[in-house]
């Protein structure tokens, strides 16, 4: 779309770089072969036919944790991994490797675009996207996935995210506007980019867990029996085993569309497909929004859903699942259900532990923590070392996860977590409740005795088109 066909862009002797989304997509991970493998193999076939020798594959991590080799193999398939990884031409982006980062330019707003040097110096960059939700893709892929911390801090901040309304509506998202400005700089001064975007259906759970994606009133006797068996056996297991089982689920997603070419044109087409699948018309806002927080979010593939991620998932992602107006009215109540254990994965989330103990005991206000604490975490040498050499998220990542919920935090009059560990919930600045009835009772202080209630059912993923 709005581009010459890929085979005509490939020339012998050129520098070709293929970037791809990391393990934060899809959720849950899709069964093999992954969409990215299909795209990249197709690109490599063309590149081989065109006589392109200099090919690098870069996992566009941004500040996410480095993927384990088995995750790379899952995403790319054994063939690509075995061919490129031993040669050192398949690697993961490092947002702290300033020797291998280069400044492309600056936007009118003064935002500096600094990206991976190999990407910047390539004759052609192909980006393989998995667009699971409307937030993904477009200029966001490259301008965050292969950008430096410095560059990301221009839009990953409380001010931008409080004005992002919503993450799923790029035309009303301050975050996306910033990214699109950077995209323009990239288009003018950066390498040629050929974007491939794909959308998935909502076939999230394989058998026997497929009942999870149905509405409860659609459950037949078999579904109810499976639910009971699953629920009882999981509760009898230790927490680690439960997590292991749930994270081992591979989704039978199928591709619903693929489009390729010039990034903005491709992305607009992708959005049409995503919205066609996700948009649900909703009449008016509600007083109380209830939601169940799932076991997985973009920042804990194979890891622990720690308390900060509970906040990020509830107020960041699920609250933002709207277009137009939020599902809950301003000053309304959000009720989430989640055990909210005070539990962290020290390998993946080392800075989250300190953030919980040090920052959240001081403030839950994104603006305050940004001013007072962010720099310390972002520049901490140990976190930097763990991010660059281990499998840890960047030191600043818990701040970004917190900012993600800044708009929801600002919008909601009260946030209640049902079933959570009470001291942990209080630390997040939320109100704990033992049961849903208690939660409604607590909420009545804010919304009165006869509120309207809307439940956001997850799974599957949907975007409320609130009129």
């Amino acid at each position: 779309m709005d581009s010459d066909p890929l085979p005509t862009l490939l020339k012998p002797g050129m520098k070709l770089t293929i970037c791809f989304d990391d393990a934060s997509l899809s959720l849950p991970k899709m069964r093999r072969p992954d969409t990215r493998q299909r795209i990249i193999e197709a690109v490599l076939e063309l590149a081989a036919a065109a006589g392109v020798d200099d090919v690098h594959l870069i996992a566009a991590l941004g500040l996410h944790r480095r993927m384990h080799d088995y995750e790379l193999k899952h995403v790319l398939g054994d063939r690509i991994f075995d061919a490129f990884h031993p040669r050192g031409t398949l690697y993961q982006h490092d947002a702290e490797d300033y020797d291998n980062l280069t400044v492309i330019g600056e936007t009118e707003e003064g935002e500096v675009l600094e990206i991976n040097k190999r990407v910047a110096e390539s004759d052609l960059v192909v980006y393989a996207n998995v667009n699971q939700v409307a937030m993904d893709g477009g200029w966001k892929s490259i301008t965050t996935g292969v950008a430096s911390y410095r560059c990301l801090s221009f839009h990953h901040n409380p001010k931008t995210l409080q004005n992002t309304r919503s993450l799923m509506d790029r035309h009303h998202s301050a975050l996306h506007q910033s990214l699109w400005r950077m995209g323009e700089v990239l288009r003018e001064s950066g390498p040629q980019i050929f974007t491939v975007e794909t959308t998935l259906n909502t076939n999230t759970f394989p058998k026997p867990f497929d009942f999870l994606a149905k509405r409860e009133w659609e459950w037949n006797a078999k579904d109810r029996a499976t639910y009971l068996a699953t629920q009882k056996s999981l509760s009898a297991m230790p927490l680690k085993a439960r997590r292991k089982i749930m994270h081992s689920i591979e989704s039978p997603y199928e591709m619903t569309s693929v489009q390729a070419g010039f990034t903005p044109t491709v992305h607009e087409e992708t959005l049409k497909h995503v919205y066609a699948q996700h948009l649900v018309e909703v009449e008016g806002q509600t007083d109380i929004l209830t939601m169940g927080i799932p076991y997985i979010c973009p920042y804990n593939p194979e890891g622990v859903m720690n308390p900060i991620l509970v906040m990020c998932m509830g107020l960041g992602y699920l609250f933002n699942m709207y277009r137009g107006k939020p599902l809950v009215r301003e000053g309304g109540v959000i009720i989430m259900t989640h055990p909210t254990y005070r539990d962290f994965n020290p390998v993946h989330h080392p800075s989250y532990i300190d953030f919980f103990e040090e920052v959240l005991t001081d403030t839950t206000d994104p603006a305050v923590m940004s001013e007072k604490w962010e720099k310390k975490y972002a520049e901490d040498e140990w976190y930097r070392h763990l991010y660059r050499t281990g499998n840890a998220y960047h030191g600043v990542h818990p701040f970004y996860a917190w900012y993600w919920g800044a708009h929801g935090q600002q919008h909601a009059g009260k946030v209640i977590i049902v079933g959570g560990d009470a001291p942990t919930v209080r630390r997040l600045g939320f109100t704990p409740a033992s049961t849903m009835n208690d939660a409604f009772e607590i909420a009545s202080d804010v919304v009165g005795r006869a509120p309207t209630v809307t439940h956001l059912h997850v799974p599957s993923v949907l975007v409320a088109d609130v009129k």
């Binding site: 093999r32 072969p33 493998q37 490599l44 076939e45 081989a48 036919a49 065109a50 006589g51 020798d53 090919v55 398939g77 054994d78 063939r79 690509i80 075995d82 061919a83 490129f84 031993p86 039978p252 199928e254």
Partner: protein, 332 residues
Amino acid sequence: MANPYMKRAQKLAGNAESAVRQATTPLRNFGFPFRAPTVPRGVEVPPEASGLGAHYDTGWARRPLASSIRGVITEGPMRLAARILTNPEVTGVDRLASLQRLETPPPVIFAPTHHSHLDTGLMIRSIPLVWRRDLVVAAAADYFFNKKWKAVISALALNAVPIDREVTGRKSSDLLVGLVDKGSSLIIYPEGGRSPDGWGQEFKGGAAYLSSKTGAPVVPVFIDGTGSIFGKGMKRPKPGSTKVVFGAPMWAEDGESTRRFNARIEAEATVLGDEALTDYWSARSRAARGESPSLTGPEHTSWRRDWDLADRRKMGAAGKRRRAKRSWPDLG
């Protein structure tokens, strides 16, 4: 007057002698009806249609009872034997995922390279279950169906159907087309037989022809390592490692002749062979440059072919176990 007891004893002894004589007399001393009738002179008996070779009727082997027995054989002893003898590494099955996940996966014609009798067991073990359930193997009529016992074992254990290698038999091809049309998948060795010298052979057009006739896709498969485990001429197997690389499904293009389609299948198998020895990207790059190492080996025919083969095997799966056994010398 003779003693009655003596008479009785004599009679019994006579009967016993007669029975022993009968039992020890060779069958040939008996006449009709114990032997085939003699044919009057001047009568020319028409030759009886042979029930062996390409004429062997394997229909019985696809009935439910035989299929169940075969299921036990393939999933039990055959799988175990393949595991112990060949220690296979199977790659490329994900190339079949799109077909595999269809509600009704279509029948597929698997076209593997062929170096050993172990190939069939290895293939049956490696093929995804959706096709393994109803899988037919095209086996050489002159080898697997030339004796009754071999024919029975081949049909029962492998669901083999005879295919005539010497002449292009309409019967064989009609039978295979019919089976694929009914939904059976097929393993057919396009090389026509095991490699005589360890190098591959030129592909014959059987797989391409059947695909064109039935519309079923051909999946080229490269098997590496079985030749050095139990190649042609070896008396007993030497366990080792193998690699099975599945290619992407291929269909004949509009108006493409069987010959051209067959050439494409062979070219793809050649690239898979390169991929098995090197890696995906090197294989694809070399294929694009037209530099894929030939499956059939170098042109020369002397000892140098064997010499080159040894080098090639060192790169492959068969060589891995030997290399792994090497250890650093103990220098004290």
